[in-house]
Symmetry: none
Subunit: 217 residues, 2 copies
DNA sequence: CCGCTCCATTCAGCTTCGTGTCAGTTTGGG
DNA sequence: CCCAAACTGACACGAAGCTGAATGGAGCGG
């Protein structure tokens, strides 16, 4: 099971990461930015999110994740005295929380519990015109018929789904496909948009010349 | 719910028994002999089995229980350093394991999970296309004909059944087969998927390239 | 204690399929 | 009408996955 830990205190982060690595695959990020990038590129089973971070408050991040419809279970980490945070955290869509300082075994137990709960729920589906998407199962239907998408095609669709109604630049999509900083010199994005259109229907993705692409809801 | 605890360390046994007695009926035995006698006379819903016991190793006991076809859910208790035991435990038919020292709440969570799995329905047969599965009895039918699955095959099928409709990653399946952290470098998962398909029918398990596998309901 | 059987594990050779690239074509803005 | 941007069909390559076969070990019956 793959866990994303977002925690900026080195000592705590180190302790948690070490403990969890006995039983899970753990990626440890120290900023929201890195965390955001991580969940764009890797599929995690669970996220541990500290709320007080150098580059902003975790609650907005959490809200944006929930808004995007991603079914990622989240456990929030808060300080003892910030009860307000806990309540807001649960309102914002956290599945559980732990209070600093916490016992590492307790953390394991909560992870286990959340995980069990999460896998019992049916997957949420998102609908866009004739397209229906189940992000957890990576399933896509068009007019009720299931489509087979490849990894790259899915990555693109995913990007569009998270930015419905806004323009996604070509360079952003390149980044999605090939990671940051890859100086690719080809029309790969165009090729994949083309392939996606063929599967989703040609009116699913709009071209905005010189700017990028846009998917409307 | 009636639980049989087989554990020879007085302190641990006492702690576990006391904790569980808040929510369950617990019988605590300190030897395999007593344990064996207990399951002959009383009908238990679950057994907690320590492997290192004064009168022998618990694995043989577990094996004999499984061989007898008794559908008793078993959670194995092992020491931190005996990974080998864990793997063997799952091979021998354990439903789950906890590692000493463990958190009592984690134990409760695991008991709950195993129990839910074991007794999901009064007649817990689940149907998936031409496949029918009785998880409690560990039996599988295809078109009404019973199939014989090996321990590994069953472990895989079990994983799929608990995540119907969602993707199960290869690493997750490796974890199921070999426990976490086994630096395995082989295509064992592929081999077992292949064998399962041969038995269940080739359209039972979908491959998602680069992601894992998925079984649909 | 010895063979027998079944299962787990590994390996190698094969197949399938996703990917990236290119070339020729189409589109649309200026 | 022209040119740049975008589109798309085709193709070659390599990675990922599949599966039959060989090996060795554990359990079991004789």
């Amino acid at each position: 099971m793959r866990i994303l830990l977002i925690e900026d205190e080195p000592l705590l982060g180190e302790a948690v990461a070490t403990h969890l690595k006995k039983t899970h695959a753990v990626d440890w990020m120290q900023t929201l930015d890195d965390g955001a990038q991580a969940i764009e590129t890797v599929s995690y089973d669970l996220m541990l999110l500290d709320l007080n971070l150098p580059d902003g408050h975790g609650l907005n991040f959490l809200r944006s994740i929930r808004k995007s419809g991603r079914p990622l279970p989240v456990i929030v980490i808060t300080a003892r005295d910030q009860i307000r945070d806990r309540i807001d955290g649960l309102n914002a869509g956290a599945d559980d929380y732990v209070v600093k300082p916490f016992d590492l075994d307790e953390l394991s137990a909560r992870i286990f519990a959340v995980q069990r709960r999460a896998s019992a729920l049916p997957n949420p589906r998102q609908r866009i015109g004739a397209i229906e998407v189940d992000q957890a199962a990576r399933k896509v239907w068009r007019d009720g018929e299931e489509l087979q998408l490849t990894a790259r095609e899915w990555a693109l669709l995913d990007s569009f789904m998270h930015r419905l109604g806004t323009i996604v630049s070509k360079s952003k999509l390149e980044e999605v496909l090939y990671g940051f900083g890859s100086e690719i010199e080809s029309n790969a994005v165009e090729v994949y948009v083309s392939r996606l259109r063929k599967k989703l229907g040609s009116n699913s993705i709009r071209t905005l010349r010189g700017l990028g692409y846009r998917m409307d809801r």
